[in-house]
Each structure stands twice: as structure tokens, then as C-alpha cells.
Amino acid sequence: MKPFTYERATSASAAAAAAADNPGAKFIAGGTNLLDLMKLQIEAPSHLIDVNGLDLDKIEPTQDGGLRIGALVRNTDLAADKRVRKDYGLLSRALLAGASGQLRNKATTAGNLLQRTRCPYFYDTNQPCNKRQPGSGCSAIGGVTRQLAVIGSSDACIATNPSDMAVAMRALDAMVETIDPAGAARRIPVADFHRLPGDTPQVETALQPGELITAVTLPKPVGGKQIYHKVRDRASYAFALISVAAVVQPDGSGRVAVGGVAHKPWRVEAAEGEMPHGAKAVAEKLLAGAKPTDENAFKLPLVERTLAAVLAEARA
């Protein structure tokens, strides 16, 4: 860990402005991802702006019948919120499938959206990694890839986004609200928030330098059966091999987003038209163009079979 300076932000706009003034600065919320990375010097901010004191920890109804979730709402509180459990069960289930109780008590909505990949080579600073050290190469390609991406990857990076929450938010068409150093607010659809790696895997989101997330909003409830099925190597406290987030309406139509397969939560709206025709039809369109490795090719049938389980559960 490198020595760093620290301040407590007093307002959202002041936090964003402070970040612009300190090019090496990072925001710190729960710290459950950032601090681990700082200890390994994968992140080495020269300045930390603590946003925990900002008044961004409320869940409030929006004008159009949706919910506005403050950036600092803890994962535990979000999952337990009565409105979320009633109208956005998918989100609650996805959150509870992630990390552990202790971590969820600290983890925040914004921090969760911005958590970094779990590619093991990203974590080992002896190994080349384009995401950690742009231009150094990707050690994962040709190496141990069982957990890594099967679709949307590039020759520069085959990492996945590890968030469970983000997969549910993608299926629910959430919107990320931010404020920039100049004090301007904007709204970014979650679909456009995370990026594919391309040639710049170090650039993971649409956020500009210094831009602070203030909230995530959910549109008005979509109803249906909301199921999150996370498949992993042990029963709890592990990142997904793959996960399926689905909203299934009584007529069999619905939405589906998949985690653990790409650099971002994976959703292909065109594939959703196939939902009444079953998992195979959906998976074919959803995963068209997939380029798995020998080690992770199993993720393709796994997505299909997990989606079949989800559809069966929705019918039951």
C-alpha cells in the first residue's frame, strides 16, 4: 500500500470537485473492494475521498412510480427493504447471493457497481495484465480461464464483471445518476454503464474522471416472477460461474440477463422474444458469437440449463 492523504467529503459536488483537483484521488465507500486492491497495490490512489458521510443512503420513491436508491445504501439494507422485496425481488435475491453478511453490511450500491474483476492474474502483480498495466499483455489468455468470459471479450482481456447486483439491475433497466466535478448531473442507463474490454480493458465504465455516483433509480415495477439463480462451486460465499436473472410474466414473456459470462452483465433484448419458446431458443440468441476457451466452454450449456431451471421454476 502506498501512503495516501485522506479527506471526508461534505457534499456530493464537493466530493466530485475534490476528485478533479487530485488526479490520483479515489472515492472510498464501504472499502471492501478498494482496500483489498490497495493492499496489493493494484490500486494506488494518492488521495482518498471518503463519501460515507454524504446524505446518499436513502431509498425513496420516484415521481414515475419507481425507486431511487442512494449511492451509499448498504447492500444489506437494500436487500431487506420492503419495497425492494415486494416489487424488485430480483434485486434483493441477487444481492443476497453475493459476498457474505459482513461484507454486505459495508458494501454500497455505488461500490458494488464499480467492483473490479476477479480474474486471478489481475490480482497477481507479477503477471502481465492489460487491465492493471495497460499494454503489458493478458496472462489469462492461454492460462487458467475457467472463471473468465465467454462472450464480448477481446484479444486484450477476457475478464468478467463479478457483480451479482449489477446483473439484476441490468434486467430491471436501472439508471445510474451521477454528478460531475462541475456540478452537472447526468443519468446513464445501466446498459451503457459497464463497457466491453476492447483495446482498453482498463476503462471499465462510462464514468468520467471525478464523476461521482449519487444514486441508482429503478423504473416502476414490472411484476412477473423474479428469479436469480447463481451457480458456483460452493453453496455460498463464492463468485458466480454464471448467474441468470430473469423476470418471467404469466404469458411466458419476460427478460433475462446473465452474469459471469462477460465484462458486463450480459443482456440481449432480441433474445427475450424467444422466452416463450424455452431456454434453448433464448440461449442460442443470447450467446450467439460466444468465444469460450476450452476451460470455460461449459458456461454455454450451463447458461442454457440454468435458464431452463429458472423457466421451470417460474412455471411451477
Binding site: 476477479r118 486471478p120 463468485f239 460461474l241 431456454a279
Partner: protein, 734 residues
């Protein structure tokens, strides 16, 4: 005391204290944080400096240059130790690779520098400023690729690397029912809770090291050999250990670097290995490839059994002896085993809980299930049919006590084995459900063990031995032994462990700790009883010790009275004759598992587990049960998730932290039951006890694997059994 004839009735048989399920006497200290670990010994050294270990970035080659300037100038840095300034170092007998590398690099994350600074954070931050240039050599990292040129290993002291009885090839060829299958087990990491940690302080040319170590005596000698010191100049202290699983049988780089750092810094230094360094810096259980051939008659009798094992290690390293149990476990006139060892440049393979048997039974007990299936026999019946009461290689040599059949029968009965269905046929909603079983087998080794016992004026007893308690309950069973022998209550016994100035024990390993160290305390207590009788002027042969009193005929005195002003003390060791040559001494279990497999996703959930164990006298059923359920948990890990993933291009374990190396969590562990057969083994030792800590693991993973097969009808021969290995072989879903 020499133990060379089977035990007869002795004071332990009273079972007033021994055999009772006392809660661990160190438990309250553990749960209140008053049992300090090595890294926390601020009571003995205040203000130690902190060391941080830098590991090699390559697996094989040499360091061409090291730039330490920036690190030396970083805030708080006191000194940096490297091979350049450490002086000439030797190597411990139990170490394969050097604990401080450079210029030659023998494996990934081999320690190449220790940064000593005022604070941990300063040391860590400075370590990142060291620039090391390497010349990388091409190494061999892939066991499967190296297998075909791997020679037969050198014989181990009590394990021949090639054995043959009768005509295996002929009998196998002629057998009407045959199995010839190959199984693999991956590299495993011990992943104990307490990381490796040591604190060292020098006085002149003598060093005291507070550490976390399972085998104090050999480790003390290995520290001396590495630092080129006389044994007497090294003192190791390790009273509390947060788990070891075999990883702490040896000294590791924390020990030597703490000592070198403290010497160079001129002040005490403490070092803990950071978690992501541990899997590659320390030892691991080596992966194996195992070929098993079994030939049987149509009636189920085995006529030929052959087991060949391959593993890899660094030059001079030892093999994983996965075939050894196959020499002993089942009958069969024609047999062979072979242990082959490839040279690999991966980190050092070495002992992990039940070395040999744990991976060996993972393969053998699937093979037994497979051939039972081919024979159309129930796997429990098949094992019972092929039971042997003698060493099958040497039929004149009986087992001291072998109750495997009883374990299997009782287990089948209690588990409801009769309800097991045909493979793939039991359905519970979206789950396919199956039952599996395996035999458990682990030898019981005899080792010399010493202890000193003191009686004081209050009638209290103190026991000292360099034995260790790695969380197993050693403190408690040694206290029970002394209390039984001296006729006092458990609360009147104090046990002191883990100090190299105490009498030598075999330490905690190979499940030999409990039986031998309690026998050592037994021996010392016999001597103390004699001293007491003599002091009181009683005849020693009819003197009784009970309720704090000593009675001989019509004479009786308080035990405390014998202590006098200065107290009494006695020291002795248990030593063994050749009973273990005349008899085969082993422990046995029947493991039963019910597992459910999600018919869509292939996710596996273990539902129930039962172990029935026959291990001689159970000294404390509560601590023994804890050992067995912990081992069963580890068996679930081995079956379903544990694997160090090898990067065969760069030669290292990639998932080298506890996020990437998965071990079971609570949600993976269902209902567990343990039954101990009520038995004694008087041939084993005066306690008539054997060990359970490794028995509880041996066979478990295969029982899980067999349950998965019974659930799905799909056989997986490569551990861990993760869904990618069978998903597409499950029935199609809509």
C-alpha cells in the same frame, strides 16, 4: 518405559476421566482471545520490528540483479535481508527447497527478500519498491506431460515404491470381471486459519522463536541446521496453533527470515506470511494420477489388485504415496503397487492431512464402487467379502484389531443404506438423489514420546512435553491421562506444550499425536506414582491413586503430602518394541454420504454424512468427534471444490488466496453424524488408543463421488467433481 508386550489391565481402564467427553480445557482461552498466537506475543517482546516477505516472480531460473535502493530509503525501513547478506545457510532435513532463494530460484514465490521496518505497512510498502531482474529458465510444470518419463521413486523408510505379490499380470488377465481406470487428484493447499507466523529474538548467538509449528523437535533441529547453529542455541515456542493440517510440520520461510531479520536488525522481528504468498511459498499436497486395476471372480472375490501412482516434486522431493493403503486394505492373492515420481518445478509437495491415504483412497474407493457395479454387487457387501484380518502381503502378520466390517455394517444400518436406489433413478423434485459409501483406512504409527510430570504441595499435577495442540484437543487428553493416572480431578492438572526445552514428543502429525503423547504421559505418571509410593513408604505395586489420595493396604495419605516442600517430579518416555512389526496397526471407518444433484444445473448439495470409526479407545469422544467432523468437511472440499489451479506455462498456482482456493463454507456442510465403535487395542500402546484425526478424512471424498454417481449415473474420475466435468452428460432438460 518400553512397550513390547500387549497392555493388560492398567489404571487408565478405570475410565474415571479418560474416555469422557470433556470440553477442551484451552477452549475458554481460545474463545476469549487469551491464548496468544506467535504473532501476538507482545507479552514476551515489546515493540518488535515487522518483516514482510517478497516472493520470486518466476518459477525457475536465477536472479540477475536486485535493486534495493528505493526500498532501503523508504520510511521506517531498518534492514533488508536477501541471500546476498544473509550469510551461508544450510537446509533443514525436512525441507526440499531453500527457504531463502537467490541467486537460484527453485519455485514461484520462493522468498527472495525480507524487508524489516518499524511497522507492517512500511515493510509492505517498501517491499513493493524492490526491483528484481530474473533470468527465467524453462521449467516442467505439467504432471500429465511428465508422467511417461517419471521413474519409480526411491523407497521411503517404511514404504517400498514397487511391490509385487503372486502373479498380478496373469491373474488380472484371467479375471472374469475387470476394472482398469485412471483417476486424478489435484494439488491441495492446507488453508489453515492461522497463517504461518514467527517472532524471533536473539541473545548473543542464541535465538528464541515464537512460532506456529506442529513438530517442535525436528523443527528446532532444522532451524539450527539452516542457521548453522548448535541445536542448543535454538529455542522454539509454539503453545497455540491456529491449524496446520501438515503445512506446519516443517519450518517455513517465516521462521528463518524472522531469525535472520532479527539478527540483522539487532532487535526482535516478527514475520507472517501474507495469505496470497502461502500456497506457492509453502508446501502443498501434490496432485496425483492413479491407475487402478482390479480383477475379480464372478462371486466378487478379488483375485488381482494393482495400484500405480504418479506425482511430481522438486528435485530431492518425495512422492505422494497414494498407493500404500492398497497393499493392506483388501484381500487378493495377486497384487502390485508402484509409486512413480516426476521432477516438476512447481512449489514443494509435502505432507497434508493423511498424506498418501487421503488421495489414494479418493481413487481406490471409487474403483471399488465401479467394480462392485460391474459385478452387480452391493458395494458394502463387496467390501465385506474382501475383508482381510491379516496383512495380505504377509498373511502371517495379523492386524492388531480390525473392525472394518463392523463399521460398514453399522454404518449401512444407521444410514438407511438399504433404501439406496439404482444409479440415476431417485428423484426429488428437480434434484437427483444418491447415496455413496467408502471405506476409511489410516495406519496407526508408534513413535517414541517423552513427558515430565510434577506434583506440588497442593496435590496438583503439571505436565510438560514438546507435543503440540493444533486445535485438536491435545491439552485436554493429556490432562485427562495425568488426572486418571494420579487420581486427581481434571482441574488439578496443568499441561504445558510446544516448547523445545520440554521432553521430546513426536508432535502433531500422521494422526500419531494423541496415542503416543498420552502414552508418554502415562509412562511419566507411572514413574511419578513410584516416586510417590516411595516417598510415603508404600509398596508401589499395590498402591491406588484415587480422589486425591494414595492408598496401600490399610494405609492412606493425601497425594499432596507426598510432594513435600519441593514437590516431586518424574520424566519418562514411551518406547516401543516390535509389536508393530508383528501386527499391522491401523484404524478403520465406514463413510456414508447422501448427495443431491440439480438435474438442470449440475450443482451438488451434500445432504447427510455419517462416519463410523474403529480406532481403539476413544480418549475423549467430544474432541474426537470434532476431529472427525472437521475431517469430513475437508473431505467434502476435496470431493467438490478444492484445487490449486496450475498455470503450466509459468509454473505456479494461480488461485493463491482464499477467494480463489475454495474450501467448504457452512452452507456446504449438512447434517453430520459420527459413531465410534466401543473398542480398545491393547497391542497399540498402554492407552489402547489409536488416532482419528486423519481417519475422518480418508475415504470421505470417494463416498461423495460415489453418491454423485448413484444420483446421476454419471461417473467422474477427476477431482474435484465440479459440474463442468459432467454437465453435458446429465439427461437433457426442457
Amino acid at each position: 518405559m518400553k512397550f513390547d508386550t500387549p497392555a493388560t489391565t492398567n489404571p487408565i481402564d478405570q475410565l474415571k476421566v479418560v474416555g469422557k467427553g470433556y470440553t477442551r480445557i484451552d477452549g475458554p482461552m481460545k474463545t476469549t482471545g487469551t491464548a496468544p498466537y506467535a504473532y501476538e506475543r507482545h507479552d514476551v517482546v515489546d515493540n518488535p520490528a515487522y518483516g514482510y516477505v517478497l516472493g520470486s516472480a518466476i518459477a525457475k531460473g536465477k536472479i540477475t540483479s536486485m535493486d534495493l535502493d528505493a526500498a532501503k530509503g523508504a520510511p521506517g525501513v531498518i534492514i533488508i535481508v536477501t541471500a546476498d547478506n544473509a550469510g551461508k545457510l544450510g537446509k533443514g532435513k525436512l525441507n526440499t527447497a531453500h527457504l531463502l532463494g537467490g541467486p537460484a530460484i527453485e519455485h514461484y514465490h520462493q522468498a527472495v527478500a525480507l524487508v524489516v521496518a518499524q511497522t507492517f505497512e512500511q515493510a509492505r510498502s517498501a517491499a513493493a519498491l524492490i526491483r528484481v531482474s530474473y533470468q527465467e529458465d524453462q521449467g516442467t510444470y505439467d504432471l500429465a506431460a511428465a508422467k511417461n518419463i517419471a521413474p519409480v521413486a526411491k523407497d521411503e523408510p517404511d514404504a517400498k515404491s514397487a511391490t509385487s505379490v503372486g502373479d498380478f499380470a496373469g491373474a488380472f488377465a484371467a479375471a472374469p470381471v475387470k476394472l482398469d481406470a485412471t483417476y486424478t487428484t489435484p494439488d491441495h493447499s492446507h488453508s489453515m486459519m492461522e497463517p504461518f507466523a514467527s517472532m524471533a529474538a536473539w541473545t548473543g548467538n542464541k535465538v528464541t522463536i515464537w512460532t506456529s509449528n506442529q513438530l517442535i523437535h525436528s523443527s528446532t533441529e532444522d532451524v539450527a541446521a539452516t542457521l548453522n547453529l548448535p541445536n542448543d542455541n535454538v529455542r522454539l515456542i509454539s503453545p497455540f496453533i491456529g491449524g496446520g493440517f501438515g503445512g506446519k510440520l516443517f519450518i517455513r520461510s517465516d521462521v528463518i527470515l524472522a531469525a535472520l531479520g532479527a539478527r540483522a536488525a539487532g532487535q526482535p522481528v516478527k514475520v507472517t506470511l501474507q495469505r496470497p504468498l502461502i500456497p506457492n511459498n509453502t508446501t502443498h499436497r501434490a496432485s496425483t494420477i492413479q491407475r487402478i486395476r482390479i480383477g475379480a471372480l464372478a462371486d466378487g472375490h478379488i483375485t488381482a489388485i494393482g495400484h500405480e501412482g504418479w506425482s511430481g516434486n522438486l528435485p530431492e522431493g518425495r512422492p505422494e504415496t497414494a498407493v500404500m493403503q492398497t497393499r493392506l486394505l483388501y484381500a487378493g492373492a495377486n497384487r502390485m503397487t508402484a509409486t512413480r515420481l516426476a521432477t516438476l518445478d512447481l512449489p514443494e509437495g509435502n505432507a497434508m492431512r493423511a498424506p498418501g491415504e487421503a488421495p489414494g483412497l479418493m481413487a481406490l474407493e471409487i474403483a471399488m464402487d465401479e467394480i462392485a457395479d460391474k459385478l452387480g454387487m452391493d458395494p458394502v457387501q463387496f467390501r465385506i467379502l474382501n475383508d482381510t484380518q491379516v496383512d495380505p502381503e504377509k498373511p502371517s502378520r495379523p492386524y492388531s484389531r480390525r473392525a472394518l466390517v463392523e463399521c460398514l455394517k453399522m454404518g449401512a444400518d444407521k444410514f438407511g443404506w438399504a433404501k439406496r436406489g439404482a444409479p440415476g433413478k431417485t428423484v426429488d423434485g428437480r434434484w437427483l438423489v444418491g447415496m455413496g459409501m467408502a471405506a476409511g483406512f489410516r495406519n496407526s504409527m508408534v513413535k517414541k514420546s517423552g513427558a515430565k510430570v510434577y506434583l506440588d504441595g497442593k496435590g496438583d499435577i503439571t505436565v510438560e512435553t514438546d507435543m503440540t495442540d493444533i486445535g485438536t484437543g491435545t491439552y485436554t487428553i493429556l490432562a485427562q491421562t495425568a488426572a486418571e493416572m494420579m487420581g486427581v480431578g481434571l482441574h488439578q492438572v496443568v499441561v504445558r506444550l510446544g516448547d523445545s526445552t520440554y521432553p521430546v514428543s513426536p508432535g502433531s502429525g500422521g494422526q500419531f499425536g494423541a496415542s503416543n503423547s498420552t502414552s508418554g504421559v502415562y509412562a511419566a505418571c507411572l514413574k511419578l506414582r513410584e516416586a510417590v509410593a516411595q516417598k510415603l513408604g508404600f509398596k508401589s505395586d499395590d498402591t491406588m491413586f484415587a480422589d486425591g489420595r494414595v492408598t496401600s493396604g490399610s494405609r492412606s495419605a493425601a497425594l499432596a503430602d507426598a510432594a513435600g516442600e519441593v514437590g516431586l517430579q518424574a520424566e519418562d518416555a514411551i518406547e516401543y518394541g516390535d509389536l508393530d512389526k508383528k501386527y499391522q496397526e491401523s484404524t478403520f471407518a465406514g463413510h456414508f454420504v447422501e448427495a443431491a444433484v440439480n438435474s438442470y444445473t449440475g450443482e451438488i448439495r451434500v445432504r447427510r454424512m455419517l462416519a463410523v470409526c474403529a480406532a481403539g479407545r476413544i480418549l475423549n469422544p467430544k474432541t474426537a468427534r470434532s476431529q472427525v467432523i472437521g475431517a469430513m468437511t475437508m473431505g467434502v472440499g476435496a470431493a467438490l471444490m478444492e484445487e490449486l489451479a496450475v498455470d503450466t506455462r509459468r509454473g505456479f498456482f494461480v488461485n493463491h488466496d482464499l477467494a480463489g482456493y475454495e474450501v467448504p463454507v457452512h452452507a456446504d456442510i449438512p447434517h453430520q453424524d459420527v459413531i465410534f465403535l466401543d473398542e480398545t487395542d491393547p497391542i497399540a500402546n498402554p492407552m489402547k488408543a489409536k488416532g482419528v484425526g486423519e481417519l475422518g478424512l480418508c475415504g470421505v471424498a470417494a463416498a461423495v463421488a460415489n453418491a454423485v454417481y448413484n444420483a446421476t449415473g454419471v461417473r467422474v474420475r477427476d477431482y474435484p467433481i465440479t459440474l463442468d466435468k459432467y454437465l453435458t452428460r446429465l439427461p437433457a432438460v426442457a
